[in-house]
């Protein structure tokens, strides 16, 4: 399954970039992320609780940030395994400045699931992906606002 989209962020490119790569902010933005720890540079170990259709469960995941072209582009590679099966996703993020306080974020992703979750969740998958992404940016704009206050 793949998809793409764009969203407008209320921040400059540089600021958006900083928050995007802040593990704590990421943890707060990713739905069901209960743990996000750096294990080496640009590599994190995460614990994700996600429900897809009837299959709810925890995925132990490795999140890798690759192809970093600060402050405009990076790739997010997620590999997770858990009781309900496996999840693999690759996302590419591009930040394009609109003006000083506005940035357009463009993303594409390619995600696949395996095992139990694929057996019964396939029909729901694109809906769930959409939900997770929308939720991410909703929370992300809040994080941006928070970091704006703290500056």
């Amino acid at each position: 399954m793949n998809g793409s989209g764009k969203v407008t962020l209320n921040a400059s490119v540089e600021k958006a970039w900083d928050v995007l790569l802040d593990p704590l902010a990421l943890k707060n933005c990713i739905m069901g992320c209960t743990k996000l720890e750096s294990i080496e540079e640009n590599k994190y170990e995460a614990l994700l609780s996600i429900g897809i259709a009837a299959v709810k469960g925890k995925y132990e995941s490795i999140i890798e940030i690759a192809d970093v072209q600060k402050p405009n582009h990076y790739k997010l590679i997620v590999k997770g395994e858990g009781g309900p099966g496996s999840v693999e996703a690759v996302g590419a993020v591009d930040l394009v400045p609109v003006d000083e306080n506005k940035t357009e974020l463009r993303y594409t992703f390619d995600a696949g699931v395996g095992g139990k979750v694929a057996m019964v969740g396939q029909r729901m998958l694109s809906g769930v992906a959409k939900l997770i992404i929308q939720d991410f940016f909703k929370k992300f704009n809040k994080e941006l606002a928070k970091s704006g206050q703290s500056v």
Binding site: A54, G57, K58, E81, G82, G83, G85, S86, G112, V113, G114, G115, K116, A118, M119, V120, Q122, R123
Partner: protein, 805 residues
């Protein structure tokens, strides 16, 4: 003096089944200290197992043990299978997983909840490999290979030439060819697999209760895998099995898995499969690609056939595969008189669930291309499909008919049955209606199919997978033996023990009808026990409930056992009455002299004497009444030319289906489904129609709804009844079943097997009807299941947008 055979006798099983007193595997209780198991399954279609860490799982209170492939490997042999490819198949993955759902670890715990929770604590590291699921791509150079030691994905390959194939193709006016794909689908019994296994250390033996229904040749394979003498593996089948439709033959790897887990964990274990496991990891039919070529004369006569069949047996070829390729070998030319035949048969392995029996086994895969090509021949020659069928049907006077590949069709009147279905379906009238409807833009279609329904498998047919030279190395296999035991107790009541492991087909009822008629005993005095126990029952390697074998074989064993009892009773009665056995008849449970009807003795007294007063019996006669009969029909091993009569009896089915298609939505509405059957003498027409309807709905599923779908990455996508569609009551069309009876000369009662016929014919006949309806668009659909989506796309892709008659 037949009174019950052939009558619509109600089923004796139903009282207990309808009042919740059935005794299924989950009803029979467990030995003390039984652990419940849950199975961790691979989420990957193709991967190396790097490591398995289950230390956390073991810490959960209530967990009794965790077993992995590495634990079972030293204790088991790989399952043997009837091909030469050295495939190592164990009931659990050892180093590598080869399909989604393959067992990777087993947890045994105090209850199932704990076992399931513990699965989540097991950490398996995989190194994923490139998967392959496409049948033809699996044969290509450079395709991922599942079994490195086999060297390719080919598990079996054989080529057969019968008659003068090349000459027929030279003499043909036309050669009509087409490629067909048949999908992988399931059988969906309400009751899933269930096993209770107990290892006893002191005797080093296993006792297993399982809803396994044979073929019991698999018992030898299980004992071999467990490395025990075969009498140290006792398998007991519960009285009731909640449906199977073939798929429960596939319990055997799980029987071995649960057995070895019981041994390793040190307590009895119980496993009831869940629905997701059943769909993803039990068994299924093979998906098949067929290239069919027909050598045809201008008048529609087919003089030769070539078929290249490639069966996908999934990740591991397992017994009894590649039987799907060969079960129909004798009837490869179907209902038609085609003397020249070439078959190029492949079994390939891909990253999908391993396959096995399901209702129709091989028949639907064969008849889909064969019956489609008959209609395509009619289209190409601009003939009526009914005339092409008529031109090719085997004639009544040709029976017993010897097929090109060695089959002997025992009896039949195919033309009569076919003309009857045309008449029932008002074929000519429908054709006129169709023309009128097309003028109004309505899409009506009619499909025909004629198929031969094999029943009672010859145990030798599977050895066709080997070359004649390879076969010479082993013991020849033939026959199709079945056994039954009948005893009478001191008060004259009857117990019948059968080994046909019924899964809902009413064997108890039919057995009681037969015994009642032969012994002249009312049904109320007859108790039929259908609990096969490999340690105490009379059984054979062929025993079980598959290949529609009860009517042809199981019933025959019951018949001969009853005849043995009758013979003994007559001898005793003649002795007591001082007359000749031939002088006696049985009337009202009495033996009566024909010459002097005043001379009689009650059956109760005769039977009682065998128990209470054995010294009164004729000299040399054994006390008691306890007779076992073993029966086999005369079916030979394959010969040096690979001629094989793969089944005992051959019934016939003629189908006519009419459909209307909504061009707006692509929806297919089946207007009528007419089916005429000839299964020889019918033993119980009530049961017969129930069996036929069930088989027909399974065929309807294959035609329009059911498919085990894998994506190109080998992920399995249909793991629930939300994703895997089965026809339910509202989807069942109007069905009209009619019978003709040409008794089999081979079975004592003249009966043939039935119930699988429409599973074999429905995908073909419905596709024929749909394509007939779509003719104005100049499109054909030859991929199953035919969904409204596919029909709609076809209609809208067609260049001929205008409907014209």
């Amino acid at each position: 003096m037949s009174q019950l055979i052939g009558k619509k006798v109600t089923r004796i099983e139903d009282a207990r089944l309808l009042t919740g007193q059935g005794k299924y595997i989950d009803d029979i209780g467990t030995p003390p200290n039984t652990a419940h198991v849950a199975i961790l399954r691979s989420p990957y279609p193709h991967a190396k197992i790097v490591s398995i860490d289950y230390s956390e799982a073991l810490e959960i209170p209530g967990v009794k043990g965790v077993v992995t492939g590495k634990d079972i490997e030293p204790l088991l042999n790989p399952f043997s299978v009837g091909v030469t490819a050295p495939v190592q198949y164990y009931p659990m993955a050892i180093d590598k997983v080869r399909y989604v759902g393959e067992p990777v670890a087993v947890v045994a715990a105090k209850n199932r909840y704990i076992a399931e929770d513990a699965l989540e604590k097991i950490r398996v590291k995989y190194e994923t490999l490139e998967p392959i699921v496409d049948i033809e791509r699996s044969l290509e150079e450079g395709a991922p290979v599942l079994h490195e030691n086999v060297g390719s994905n080919i598990a079996n390959h054989r080529t057969f030439y019968y008659g003068e194939v090349n000459k027929a193709f030279q003499e043909a006016d036309r050669i009509i060819k087409k490629r067909f794909e048949f999908p992988k689908y399931s059988a969906t019994p309400v009751e899933t697999y269930g096993i209770i296994a107990q290892y006893e250390e002191s005797t080093k033996s296993y006792t297993v209760r399982a809803n396994f229904h044979g073929p019991f040749v698999l018992h030898s394979i299980m004992a071999g895998a467990l490395k025990v003498p075969s009498n140290r593996l006792r398998i007991i089948i519960p009285k009731d099995i909640g449906g199977s439709y073939g798929i429960k033959a596939g319990t055997f790897p799980y029987i071995v898995l649960c057995s070895i887990v019981s041994r390793l964990v040190g307590c009895p274990v119980k496993w009831i499969e869940d629905r997701q496991e059943h769909l993803s990891a039990s068994s299924s039919c093979t998906d098949r690609v067929t290239y069919i070529e027909a050598a045809v004369k201008e008048d529609g006569k087919v003089i030769g056939l070539k078929m290249k069949m490639i069966d996908n047996v999934g990740a591991y070829i397992r017994a009894p595969e590649p039987a799907c390729l060969y079960r129909t070998h004798a009837n490869s030319t179907g209902a038609y008189d085609i003397p020249n035949l070439m078959i190029d048969a492949y079994a390939v392995m891909t990253n999908k669930l391993p396959t096995g029996l399901i209702r129709g086994y091989g028949g639907q895969e064969l008849y889909f291309p064969l019956e489609r090509i008959m209609q395509i021949i009619a289209d190409e020659l601009d003939m009526d499909p009914a005339d092409v069928i008529r031109r090719n049907l085997i004639k009544k006077e040709q029976f017993p008919y010897k097929t090109a590949s060695g089959g002997v069709y025992d009896s039949g009147d195919y033309e009569k049955a076919f003309e009857l279905v045309l008449k029932l379906g008002k074929y000519e009238e429908f054709r006129k209606k169709q023309i009128e409807a097309r003028k109004k833009g309505k899409l009506l279609g009619v499909g025909l199919a004629c198929i031969v329904e094999p029943s009672g498998s010859n145990m030798g047919y599977i050895t066709v997978a080997l070359t004649p030279e390879e076969r010479k190395a082993g013991l020849p296999k033939s026959g199709c033996a079945e056994a039954a035991t009948i005893s009478m107790d001191p008060l004259g009541n009857v117990n019948v023990r059968i080994s046909t492991t019924p899964t809902g087909q009413g064997h108890e009822t039919v057995a009681s009808q037969i015994v009642s008629d032969i012994l002249g005993v009312p049904r109320e005095k007859i108790n039929v026990i259908a609990e096969l126990d490999t340690a105490t029952s009379a059984w054979t390697i062929a025993s079980g409930s598959y290949s529609s074998r009860f009517a042809s074989l199981g019933s025959s064993a019951v018949y001969y056992a009853a005849q043995k009892v009758k013979k003994k009773l007559l001898k005793m009665a003649a002795h007591f009455l001082q007359t000749d056995e031939k002088d006696l008849t049985i009337e009202n449970e009495k033996f009566v002299s024909k010459q002097d009807p005043s001379k009689s003795i009650s059956m109760k007294r005769v039977v009682g004497s065998a128990h209470w007063n054995p010294l009164s019996l004729p000299e040399g006669m054994e006390p008691g009444i306890y007779e076992t009969a073993y029966y086999t029909a005369q079916v030979e091993p394959p010969d040096d030319q690979d001629l094989i009569n793969s089944s005992v009896t051959y019934g016939f089915v003629a189908d006519l289906v009419t459909v209307e298609i909504d061009p707006e939505t692509g929806e297919i509405h089946i207007l009528d489904y007419f089916t005429v059957h000839d299964a020889g003498k019918l033993l119980n027409p009530l049961i017969v129609d129930g069996q036929i309807l069930g088989g027909l709905v399974h065929g309807l599923g294959g035609a329009m709804y059911e498919e085990l779908v894998y994506d190109e990455k080998g992920q399995f996508l249909t793991g629930s009844f939300m994703d895997y569609l089965c026809p339910t009551a509202p989807e069942i069309p109007k069905v009209t079943i009619k019978h003709i009876e040409t008794p089999s000369p081979l079975t004592p009662l003249g009966a043939k097997g039935l119930g699988e016929g429409n599973s074999m014919s429905a995908p073909a006949v419905i596709t024929n009807a749909v394509n007939d309806a779509l003719k104005p668009y100049g499109v054909t659909i030859d991929s199953l299941p035919i969904t409204p989506n596919k029909v709609w796309n076809m209609i809208h892709q067609s260049t001929k947008q205008e409907v014209s008659s």
